[in-house]
Symmetry: none
Subunit: 196 residues, 4 copies
C-alpha cells in the first residue's frame, strides 16, 4: 500500500521545485535564478531538476505560468461573479478584484513585472488580456447602453490595457493614493470614456 503513487510523487517534486523557483525569484531576484540556487532552495541536488524539467527556462516558465494563471483566475472569477451587477459597480468590482489579485503576491509581481525580460511573460499576459477582452466584449455587446464608443474591439483594448497598467503600477509603486481613490478614478475614467 503505497501512500504516494509515482504520479503523485512526481507532481509533488514539480511543486517543490516551482515553489523553490518562486522563492528564489522573490528572495534573491531574477539574476540569482540559477539552477544551483533553485535546487538548493528545493533541498535537492542540481541534477534532480532535470528529472522534472528539461532546462532552466522551463522552470521559470512554470513559475510564471502558475502566477499568471492564478491571477487570471481570480480576476475571471470576479468578472463572472459581478457581470450581472449594475454598470458602474461592475467595473469597480472587477478592478477591485484585479487589485486584490495583484496584491496577493506583490513580491512575485515585483519580480515578474520589473526584473524579468518582459518578453518572457508577454505571451502569458497577452493570453490573459485576450481572455479579459473576451469577457468585456460580451458584456458590452449585451448592454450596449453602457458604451457609446464606435468600435468595441478598440474600446476593450484601451480599457483593459489602461486598467491593467494602472492597477499594476498602483500595487507596485504604492503611490500616495488610497485604494478607494484608485477605484474611484478608474471607474470615472472607464465610464467617462465609454459614455463620451
Amino acid at each position: 500500500m503505497r501512500k504516494t503513487p509515482r504520479q503523485a510523487r512526481s507532481r509533488e517534486m514539480v511543486e517543490r521545485i516551482v515553489a523553490a523557483g518562486r522563492e528564489v525569484l522573490v528572495t534573491d531576484g531574477y539574476d540569482a535564478f540559477s539552477t544551483n540556487r533553485v535546487a538548493a532552495a528545493a533541498g535537492i541536488s542540481p541534477g534532480s531538476l532535470y528529472q522534472y524539467f528539461p532546462d532552466k527556462a522551463a522552470i521559470l516558465d512554470v513559475v510564471i505560468d502558475r502566477y499568471t494563471e492564478q491571477t487570471a483566475d481570480r480576476v475571471a472569477a470576479a468578472m463572472a461573479d459581478r457581470m450581472g451587477g449594475a454598470g458602474l459597480d461592475v467595473v469597480r468590482d472587477i478592478v477591485d478584484a484585479l487589485v486584490s489579485a495583484l496584491e496577493a503576491d506583490r513580491a512575485l509581481l515585483h519580480v515578474v513585472a520589473e526584473q524579468l525580460p518582459l518578453a518572457r511573460s508577454k505571451a502569458r499576459r497577452e493570453a490573459l488580456e485576450q481572455r479579459v477582452r473576451g469577457l468585456a466584449s460580451t458584456y458590452l455587446i449585451a448592454r450596449p447602453e453602457h458604451s457609446r464608443r464606435p468600435v468595441p474591439a478598440v474600446s476593450t483594448w484601451v480599457t483593459v490595457l489602461a486598467i491593467e497598467n494602472l492597477a499594476t503600477r498602483w500595487v507596485l509603486d504604492q503611490p500616495d493614493i488610497t485604494r478607494d481613490q484608485l477605484l474611484d478614478e478608474i471607474v470615472a475614467m472607464v465610464s467617462g470614456y465609454l459614455l463620451s
Copy 2:
C-alpha cells in the same frame, strides 16, 4: 596647444561608447549586450570601457537615459508648444507627439520595453513621468474648467500612466487600430475622465 581638452576627449569617448551600446542593443538585443561586444562596436578595447564607466550596468543606464531623455524632450517640447491650445486639441497633440517620439526609435523601444529588466529603466521613466505630471498639473491648475476630478495629483497620475502605456503598447504591439483611432480613443478617455 591642445585641441581637445581632456574633459572634451572624455565626453567624446563616453558618447562613442553609449552609441556603441545603443547599437549593440538594437542590432543584437539585450542578451548580446556584453562588455566585449560594446567595446568592439565602439572600436576600443574592453579595458578602456572602465576608464569611462564603473561597470557594465552604468553603460546600459546611460544608454537608457539618453533614450528616455530624448523621448522626454520631444514630448515636453510638444507640450510646451501646445499648452496654449484649446482643451481637447492639447491632449490630442501631446499624445500625437508621444506616439511620434516612441515611433522614432521603435527598435530601441522594443529592446528597452521588452528585453530589459524593467527595473533598469524604472527610475528614468519615473523621472519622465514626474516631469510630465508637473507640466500637466500646471496646466490643469491654470485651467480648472478642464477637470472636475477632486485631486489633481491623482488625476495626473492616472492620466499620464494610462496615456504612456497605451501609446507604448500601440507602437510595440501594432494592434489593428489606426493611429487616428488611437488618438480619438485616448482623447475620449482623458476628456471623459477629467470631466466626469
Copy 3:
C-alpha cells in the same frame, strides 16, 4: 516449480543487456552508449544493470567480446575446414572467410574499429590473433615447404597482422578494389612473402 533457475535467469538478463548494448552501439554510436540508454534498450531500469555488471565498462567489454568471439569463431571454423587444402587456396579461403566475418556486421565493426578507444578491444583482439597465429603455426610446421622464412613466430605475426588489417580496412573504407582483387593481392603478398 521454477522453470528458470536463478542461474539461467541471470544469463538471460546478461544476454538481454548485451544485446541492448550492441543495439545502442550500432544505432546511436559509442558516444550514446550510456547506461541509461542501454537500460532503456534492454527494457529494464538503470539500477538493474548493476546487478549483472559491475559498471558500464563491463557491459561494453562483453559486447565487444561477443563480437570478437563470433568473428573469431567464423574464421577459426574456416581455417579448420580449409587447412587441408592446397597452399594458395588455403590462404585465399581463410582471408575470404575473414572478410565475410567482418562484413557480417559491418555496422558494429564500424563502431568497434572507429569509435571505440582501441585499447578497449585490444586484449580481445590479441587473443584472437593469438589463436589464429597458433593455427597458422601448426599449419606451417606441418608443411614446411610453404615457408622459407627463418622464424615462424615472426612470419605468423607479420602475416596475421597484415591480413587482419587489410581485410578490416577494405571492409570499412570500401576502397575502389573488388573483393577478388583484394583476395588476389593478399594471396600474392602472403605467398610472395613466405616463399621469398
Copy 4:
C-alpha cells in the same frame, strides 16, 4: 622595444597549450583530457584556453595534427632521400624511417592509436597515407621492373597499409621481434609481393 610582439606571444601560448594538451594526453590519457586539466597543465586559467581555441576539440585536433604532421614529415623526408636508392634498400630505409618516426614519441602514439576514437584521427591519417601512396606510385611508375602487380593503385594501397600497420603495432606492442627482423620481414613481404 617589445621583445615579444603580439603575434609571437599568441603563438607562444598556442604552443604552450598544445604542449600541455600533449602532456595531459600522455600522462593521464584521453579520458582525462579535460579543459580544466589542460589549462592547469599549461599553467593558465580555464578561460584563457578560449582565447586561443574555439573549444576543447580544437585543442585536441591541433595536438594530433602536430603529431601526425611531424611523423609524416619524417617519413616523407626519408622517402624523398632514399627514392634514388636500389630497390630493396629503398623499402628498408623507408620502413626504418617510419619506425623511427613512430618510436620518436611512443607515448603519444600509444594514446593516439589506442585511446582516441579512431575517427578523430582518421582524416589526418588518410591524408598521410594518400601522400605516401602518391610517392610510392610515382616510384613504381618510374621503375616498372620493381613490380609485377597488375594494378598499381591497388598494390600501393596494400603495401602502404600493411607497412603502416606492422610498424605501428611493432612499436606499440613490442613483440619479441628485433628491429632488424622486422625490417627484414617487411622487405621480404613487400618485395615478394610486388615481384610475385
